[in-house]
Amino acid sequence: MLLAPIVWLLTVVICYFFIAKVWWFPPPISQHGIAYDEQFMRTLVITGVIFFLAQFALGWVIFRFRDDGRRASFYHGNNKLETLWTTATAVLFVGIVLMGTKIWVAVHLSDPDPNAVPIELMAKQFAFSFRYPGPDGKFGHTDLKLVNDAAGNPFGLDDKDPAAKDDIVSASLKVPAGKPIKLIMHSRDVIHNFFVRELRLKQDIVPGMEIPLYFQADTPGTYEIPCSELCGLGHFQMRSTMQVMSEADFEKWKIEQAANK
C-alpha cells in the first residue's frame, strides 16, 4: 500500500540528513567535547539502526500483508521472541547509558582541580556578567543593595572592601586555552542557563544556589553563549561570548583590565 513506500522514503531521507551531517554540531574545542561526540555517535548509530529497521519492518508488513484474499495467520504471540527482544532492548538501552556515565562523572563528579582558574558568573535578566579576582586572587565582597547596572556594577561590588577594588568585571567570558577553569555561577533573579555549544556543556544557573562548572577549552576562538533556560521576555537576547585565548594573551588582558580601573 502507498504508506509503505512513503514510510521507506521518509526513513531514507531522514537517515540521509543525519549521515550527511547537513546541520550539525560545531567542532568541539575540548577533550570533553571529543568524548561527547563519540558517545553521541554511538547513540546515533544504535538508534539509527533501530530506526531504520523498525520503519522498514513497518513498511514491509504494510506491503506484504495487505489483504489479497488469503486468510490471516493465527497466533497469539511468541514468548521466546518476546523474551529475546525484551532482553536485547534492555541490554542495549542500559548499556548505552552506562557508557555515557564516564562523561557525566567527569563533568560533575570528579575531583575539582585545585589549580582551576576561578571565574564568577552572574546571570540576570537579561545579561551575563563575569568577574575575575584580580591581582590579589580574591573575590571581593558584594552586596545586592550596591548593584547598579547602569554604572557597570552588576555584581554589587563593595567599594569599601579592598579585595573588591581590584576585581575585574567583564561582559564576556575570557579564558586561557588549555587551562582548567572553574566557573562559579550565580543568578540574581530567575533561573538562567550557561551554554557553549563548542564545549558541549550547559548548566542551569539557579538563584539561591552557587553552582560550579569545571571545564577546559583547548581551541582559541570566540564562541557564543545563548541563555538556555527561559528567563523572561529578553531570553532570546541574553547573549554573551566566550573568548578562548593563549595564556599569554589572557594574562595581558587581565593586566590591561587592572590598569584601566
Partner: protein, 586 residues
C-alpha cells in the same frame, strides 16, 4: 447502580446530561475547540519566529499594547507559547483520549450501563469547562497571559509582575485554572477506576479486557496520583505569589530593581513537584492512543494482538515506571548528579516496555490480512511516529548527552513527535474507528485518506528538522533568532518548518469537513461496520441511552479472537457463545 429512565428534555439530554456517551462527546468537542486555539497559537508562534520584524496589521488590532505597530513583542510571543503548551497538554491531550473516548467507550466495552457515578461524571466535564474558561480569560486581563512556559518555573512564575507582563493576574489565573482542572481530573479518575473495577459484566475478567480499557484504567491511576501533587504544587506557588511565603523563592533576588524579601525557598522544589506530575502526564497523553492503536491494528489485520499479556504488562510497567523518572527533566537543573544517574537508568528502563509494544504491534501486523481503512492508516501512522519520537528519547535520557541537548529544539522535536503527533494520531484513529458507533453514520474514506497522507507527511516535515536544529544547538523558547550568528544560519530550516506548519494546519480543514458533514450526511452505519469483536459492536449505532437496552451481556471470549481456525467467520465477538470454537489457550 439503579437503572435510570431515558432523559427527557433538551437540557437533560444534551447539556447537563448524566449519560457517559453525551459527556464523552462533550469532552471531545471541548478538546476539538481547544486544539483549534492551540494550533492557532502555534501558527502565530511559527510566523513570528521567521518574521520577527514584519508588521501585521491585525496583530495591532488584537493586541494594541503587546503588538503595537503590528509587531509581536517578545512577551506576547512567550505568552502565546505558554498558552499553546498549556492548552494542548491539558485541554487536548488529557481530555480527548481519556475523558472523551474513555468516557464514551469504557462502560460499553466492559458491558456496563453507564459509569459508576453519573452525576460526578457530569460535574467533571463542567468543571473542566470552567477550568478552560478561566485559562482563556488570562488572555483578556491586564498584562495578558503568563509567559513562564507551561512549566511555570519559579522564580520567574512566582514574583509577579516584576518578572514580566502577564506574570501578574495572568499567571494567577493560570494557576487557578490548573487547580480547577486537577479537581476535574480527580473526579474523572474516581469514575474510571470504580467503573472498571466494579462494573464489569459477567465473564469480563481482567484478561479479557480490550487493551483500550487497560490503558484508560492505568491512565486514570496516573492522573489520580499525579494531579494531586500538581494541585499541591500550585497551592504553594499561589502562596508564594500572593501571601509572601517562600516555598520556592530564595533570598537575594533583585528583580526589576526591586530587592525581594523572600528567603529560604528552593526553585528546585517546584521542579521536583511539577515533574513528579509532569512525567506521568505525558504517559496519560500517550497510553490511550497506544490502546487504540493495539485495538485497530488487531481489528484491521484480522489477527489477535501479538502478545496480549505482554502488552498488558507493558502498560502496567509504563504506568509504574512513569512515576520514577521525573528527574530526567531536571538533569541540568543543579540537582545531585547521583540522582541524575539513577533517573537515567530508570528512564532507559521505561524504554523497554515501550519497545515491547512496538515489536508487538509489528507482530500483530505480521501474517495479517490488512484492510487499509482511514482508522487503520492513523494507527499505522501512530506506530511510525512513536518509533521516531521515542528513539530521540534515548539521547535525552542520558545526562551526558543532555549536557548539550537540554533546552534545545531537540527536546521540542522529541516531545512534539510523541505528544503533538503520535497522540493526536491516536485521537484521529479513534475518531474514524468509533465515529460510526457514536453518530450512526460512516465518515468519508476518501477525504479521510487524503487528510491522513497530507497530515502524516506534514508532521514529519514540521518536527523532524527540529532534531537537526537541536544538534546545531538552537535553543528553545526563543522568540526570534536574529541575535546570534549561529542561529542566523538555521533560519531556512525554521522557514521550512513554518511553511510545513501552515500546510498541515490547512489540511486539517478536511478533517473538520469530514467530521461535521458525516454527522449529518454520512452513509448510515451498520451495527458492526468493521467486523470488530468488542462489546460496543454488539449494540446499535448510535447506542440506546442505557447502552444494552436492559440486556446484560455475558462475555465468553477474549477481546481479539480474529481468524481463529475452525471458527465460522474470521472474528469471534466477545459475547458469542462459548462453543463457537474451543477457546485457544493464551
Amino acid at each position: 447502580m439503579h437503572a435510570h429512565h431515558a432523559p427527557q428534555g433538551f437540557i437533560r439530554k444534551y447539556i447537563f446530561s448524566l449519560d457517559h456517551k453525551v459527556i464523552g462527546i462533550q469532552y471531545y468537542f471541548l478538546a476539538l475547540f481547544s486544539v483549534l486555539i492551540g494550533m492557532s497559537l502555534s501558527l502565530l508562534m511559527r510566523f513570528h519566529m521567521v518574521n520577527p520584524d514584519v508588521k501585521v496589521h491585525w496583530f495591532a488590532t488584537l493586541w494594541p499594547t503587546a503588538a503595537q505597530g503590528g509587531i509581536m513583542t517578545p512577551e506576547l510571543y512567550l505568552s502565546l507559547m505558554t498558552m499553546h503548551g498549556t492548552i494542548m497538554v491539558f485541554f487536548v491531550l488529557t481530555t480527548a483520549p481519556q475523558s472523551g473516548f474513555g468516557n464514551y467507550f469504557l462502560p460499553i466495552q466492559i458491558g456496563a450501563e453507564d459509569m459508576a457515578f453519573p452525576v460526578l461524571n457530569m460535574l467533571s466535564f463542567w468543571t473542566t469547562l470552567v477550568a478552560l474558561g478561566v485559562m482563556v480569560s488570562a488572555f483578556f486581563v491586564q498584562g495578558g497571559a503568563p509567559l513562564a512556559g507551561w512549566t511555570a518555573y519559579p522564580p520567574l512564575s512566582a514574583v509577579g509582575r516584576l518578572s514580566g507582563p502577564g506574570e501578574g493576574l495572568g499567571q494567577t489565573l493560570w494557576i487557578v485554572s490548573i487547580a480547577i482542572f486537577c479537581g476535574a481530573s480527580l473526579m474523572g479518575a474516581i469514575n474510571f477506576i470504580a467503573t472498571l473495577i466494579d462494573l464489569r459484566c459477567q465473564g469480563m475478567s481482567l484478561w479479557r479486557l480490550p487493551l483500550t480499557c487497560w490503558t484508560w484504567f492505568v491512565t486514570a491511576i496516573l492522573g489520580l496520583l499525579g494531579f494531586a501533587v500538581l494541585l499541591a504544587a500550585g497551592v504553594l506557588l499561589i502562596l508564594d505569589r500572593t501571601a509572601g511565603t517562600s516555598f520556592f523563592l530564595p533570598a537575594g533576588l533583585l528583580v526589576s530593581d526591586t530587592i525581594l524579601n523572600h528567603k529560604g525557598g528552593s526553585p528546585l522544589l517546584w521542579q521536583h513537584l511539577f515533574w513528579f506530575f509532569g512525567h506521568p502526564e505525558v504517559y496519560i497523553a500517550i497510553l490511550p492512543g497506544m490502546g487504540v492503536t493495539s485495538q485497530l491494528l488487531s481489528t484491521f489485520s484480522r489477527k489477535p494482538v501479538f502478545g496480549y499479556k505482554a502488552m498488558v504488562y507493558a502498560i502496567l510497567g509504563i504506568g509504574f515506571l512513569g512515576f520514577l523518572v521525573w528527574g530526567h527533566h531536571m538533569f541540568m537543573s543543579g540537582m545531585s548528579p547521583y540522582s541524575a544517574m539513577a533517573f537515567s537508568v530508570l528512564t532507559m528502563a521505561i524504554g523497554v516496555p515501550s519497545a515491547i509494544k512496538t515489536f508487538n504491534w509489528i507482530g500483530t501486523l505480521w501474517g495479517g490480512k490488512i484492510h487499509f481503512t482511514t482508522a487503520m492508516m492513523f494507527a499505522l501512522g501512530f506506530v511510525s511516529l512513536f518509533v521516531t519520537g521515542g528513539l530521540s528519547g534515548i539521547f535525552l535520557g542520558q545526562p551526558a548527552l543532555d549536557l548539550y541537548f537540554h533546552d534545545t529544539y531537540f527536546v521540542v522535536g522529541h516531545f512534539h513527535m510523541i505528544m503533538g503527533v503520535a497522540a493526536i494520531f491516536g485521537m484521529f484513529a479513534g475518531t474514524f474507528y468509533w465515529f460510526p458507533k457514536m453518530f450512526g453514520r460512516m465518515m468519508n474514506e476518501t477525504l479521510g485518506k487524503i487528510h491522513f497522507y497530507c497530515t502524516f507527511l506534514g508532521v514529519y516535515a514540521i518536527f523532524t528538522p527540529m532534531h537537526w536544529l537541536g544538534i546545531a544547538g538552537n535553543p528553545r523558547r526563543y522568540s526570534d533568532f536574529t541575535n546570534f550568528d549561529f542561529m542566523g544560519k538555521l533560519l531556512p530550516v525554521h522557514t521550512f518548518m513554518t511553511h510545513a506548519a501552515y500546510f498541515t494546519a490547512a489540511v486539517q480543514i478536511l478533517f473538520f469537513i469530514n467530521l461535521f458533514w458525516s454527522m449529518k450526511y454520512g452513509k448510515k452505519a451498520p451495527m458492526n461496520p468493521w467486523n470488530s469483536t468488542t462489546l460496543e459492536w454488539t449494540i446499535p449505532s448510535p447506542p440506546p441511552f442505557d447502552n444494552f437496552a436492559g440486556h446484560h451481556p455475558v462475555v465468553n471470549h477474549g477481546a481479539y479472537e480474529y481468524s481463529v481456525p475452525g471458527a465460522p467467520r474470521d472474528f469471534i465477538m466477545q459475547t458469542d457463545p462459548v462453543d463457537v470454537i474451543a477457546e485457544p489457550r493464551h
